[in-house]
Amino acid sequence: MPKRPIPEATPETAEFWAGARRGELRIQRCNACGKAYFFPRPFCPHCSSKDVGWFTASGRGRLYSYVINHRPAMGFQDYAPYVIAVVELEEGPRMMTNIIGVDPTPENLPIDLPVEVTWEQQDERITLPLFQPRTGAP
């Protein structure tokens, strides 16, 4: 059974994946315009400033949109159907992920559902940020 595709970090993304190994959702914020952003780049996509820094996001967000995939990708045969989602983090940026820890039905997955990050180790280098419904959320 082939495994799911494992990412390989580049110099610009290494800190994100290093954080993921520690269970920290590391994203960047621009010190010039104040906006947080994702995916990792050594400058701000909003104002082009190079005065940017890494910080650990809260890991909380909401389910922005998704599909429930019934035709699994290679390596995902055991998971189907599974949720491919875009979550919007509390800090603003959005990212693709999977929603786990919930039966994948539309009823269980209302748009804007509060979610939180959970970590799934793939190998010694890569741990993936997945999301699950946030416990105790209103």
């Binding site: 595709p5 390989e8 019934h70 993936l128």
Partner: protein, 378 residues
């Protein structure tokens, strides 16, 4: 108006062609378009294409180019090629441009592979989550649109139904059996909320265009189709980075450019081709290009206004949903606009003076828009 389409043709067959490679489909379409224009390959001095390199296509056809454009931004690339050819001709870089498309999308003969590697942005931030082709990425915005505007499953299904009614009138269309909303909603779920019959076909085929200056347009056998307005834009390379999942910024920018250049209003458009990779893409086009307000496309389609007999004839070849979809379908949208403006379409409309062909590239990654006319005074 600076440019005109004077040659346009598809491959002999669109559908299933395991006996032809991708580049051969480029060449077959090119030779058909040259014949349509009454030209030979030695008349061509500009080569533009996507999928294959223009270097390879020029070599394959035996053309010595003076202008090359390999802009490859997905299925709308050919809208951009027409725009770039018009600009190149205006600038004197070439006189007679050949734009080609060929794809062995179904049989995969002579096609390059999928995916870009584990270090690419998609390899790091999309593929680990089990995306499996366009059906799992292009479609993620749909639920957000449904949530914000009350768009329904029936409204999405009605796009496929309206499009099929046009395909029923086109003998070259792959899928011609009558279709109901129930048929669509009862078809297999591919990636909720998308059903099989809301997904485009996967086929083999090609198409080609010959573009010259408007001044020369009448020197050719067929009725000229003038390039009245053009636009292009891009937005993201990963769907998660789309600015607002209920609208395409690229569609809006490209559409505004095209209408501004054309100097006509939405009400002046007689015929429309909106790239339909999935049922929702024409909905996003109808809204993004300003034909209806935000969130209003669902009821518009449900009322069958785009079907035969409706007041907004759309995707009259049967579209990517029912006619053909090789992978980069935009070329076929342009071909149908040209046929309607020449009076050669299978489902020919009366009195077509203007047509809009709007393409999407990738998963809302890019856009290209052409406003075409057969009226030299426009």
């Amino acid at each position: 108006m600076s440019a005109a389409v004077v040659g346009a043709a598809e491959t002999d067959v669109v559908g299933v062609q395991p006996d032809k490679s991708a580049i051969q489909l480029h060449a077959e379409a090119a030779l058909n378009a040259l014949a349509d224009a009454g030209l030979t390959k030695d008349d061509i001095d500009g080569v533009l294409c996507a999928g294959q390199s223009p270097v390879a296509v020029a070599e394959y056809l035996g053309i010595v180019p003076k202008f090359l454009d390999g802009t490859s931004v997905g299925g709308c690339s050919f809208m951009l090629h027409v725009r770039h050819a018009a600009a190149a001709i205006r600038a004197g870089l070439c006189t007679t441009a050949l734009i080609t498309h060929g794809q062995s999308g179904r049989s995969r003969v002579g096609e390059s592979g999928w995916g870009g590697g584990r270090q690419t942005l998609s390899g790091q931030f999309e593929e680990p989550y089990g995306v499996a082709g366009p059906a799992t990425r292009f479609t993620i915005p749909i639920l957000r649109h449904m949530h914000e505007y009350g768009t329904t499953h029936e409204q999405l299904a009605s796009v496929a139904v309206a499009t099929r009614r046009w395909a029923e009138l086109n003998p070259r269309a792959m899928m011609r059996d009558p279709l109901t909303i129930e048929d669509v909603l009862n078809s297999r779920v591919i990636a909720y909320p998308v059903h099989l019959l809301e997904c485009c076909l996967v086929t083999d085929g090609g198409g080609a265009l010959v573009v010259v200056s408007a001044e020369r347009a009448k020197d050719f056998p067929k009725k000229p189709v003038y390039v009245l307005g053009t636009g292009e834009s891009s937005e993201h390379s990963m769907i998660s980075m789309m600015h607002d999942f209920t609208e395409s910024r690229a569609f809006k920018v490209s559409g505004e450019l095209a209408f501004a250049e054309a100097g006509i209003s939405r009400a002046d458009i007689d015929h429309a081709m909106f790239y339909d990779a999935f049922a929702h893409t024409p909905m996003f086009a109808l809204e993004g290009l300003g034909f209806v307000g935000k969130g209003e496309s669902g009821p518009f389609f449900e009322e069958m206004r785009t079907a035969p007999g409706g007041d907004f004839p759309l995707n009259t070849n049967g579209g990517g949903l029912s006619y053909t979809h090789t992978g980069m379908y935009g070329m076929f949208a342009i071909q149908e606009s040209v046929r309607q403006l020449r009076g050669e379409a299978a489902a020919q409309l009366p009195n077509v003076r203007t047509s809009i062909a709007h393409g999407v590239g990738g998963m809302f990654h890019a856009a290209g828009t052409l406003i075409l006319t057969n009226d030299e005074r426009a």
